[in-house]
Subunit: 153 residues, 2 copies
DNA sequence: CCCAGATAGATGCATTTGCATGTATCACTG
DNA sequence: CAGTGATACATGCAAATGCATCTATCTGGG
């Protein structure tokens, strides 16, 4: 039973989100136009990246869906494309017959690393001149805290 | 003539961007599924919002394009839709015969305000519990600094 | 003034996306 | 263990998107 949120509380939250969102747009626009994404659209790379980062190397479709801003059906078809190109392999989830377990192929891992190296350089060229290391660490902490709170429930 | 960026510099920048990006995805996913966006997709609302925020009330197509993650052609057609629904009006730019000047209609402004009120509440419900006001102000400052640096050049 | 190049925006077309729905598996209840 | 509802993913189809290209206007020499 919390009270009414004050108008200034609401406004601060809205302005914060607005700034976060616009900065994301500005950075993403630059990144997407970089040569790294001539080979493959950013959304597809993002899926390869997500798989490459996962300890077990395998992820369920719905786990990936949490990390990417795509509908379930769009992600399913994106996987079709990646599978057709031989970059990922679909498997059956061991404990759930409905589930699909996705894994990078050798070729998929190679492509991820190739694009990734270039992409990371592009990121650093945008972010490093903009914020001091201490500021970057603080931004990292705050966005991670926000993400945890939001995906928490 | 700056030297080689160190590996840790590059990594910090990459991790910072990654955290910013994922937090944006998590929040946006929640916001998009809110009832506020039953009436209209988020990208279309975003354009109405951008126009409503502009002091003169009028913006060029390419100015709007800087704020939104859409290709020029997609934005042009999004405007077709909004115009067809009577929410925005296209006009000719006074000093440039090639340019198009966009303006909200009365109906467009009303719809923006209706969705906006609801949307702002949704934002506050996600952001306010996640970060203290001081943290929000700091996040606002850092993302604004990043955006300014990136769109600067 | 004219012409070459640049810029703003519109349009044809193939690809991608999301909504609604379909199918298969799971989980719970009685 | 049959039955009901929920969950995971796939698919038909209409709509949205991006790339390449087109038209029109602007800009800067000569």
């Amino acid at each position: 039973m919390s009270g009414q949120p004050s108008s200034s509380t609401v406004r601060l939250a809205a302005e914060t989100w607005e700034a976060l969102f616009r900065s994301q747009v500005a950075v993403m626009r630059r990144l997407q136009s970089a040569p790294a994404f001539k080979k493959m659209p950013a959304k597809e790379y993002d899926v390869l990246f997500t798989l490459s980062r996962c300890p077990s190397g395998k992820l369920r479709l719905n786990e990936i869906n949490d990390k990417v801003l795509l509908s379930q059906s769009s992600l399913s078809r994106l996987m079709d494309r990646l599978e057709k190109r031989g970059l990922v392999a679909r498997g059956v989830a061991p404990d759930d017959g409905r589930g699909v377990l996705l894994e990078l192929t050798e070729a998929g891992l190679e492509l991820q690393k190739t694009i990734g190296r270039e992409h990371v350089r592009d990121i650093a060229e945008l972010v490093a001149p903009a914020l001091t290391p201490a500021e970057q660490r603080e931004l990292l902490r705050l966005t991670e805290k926000l993400r945890a709170s939001v995906s928490g429930h």
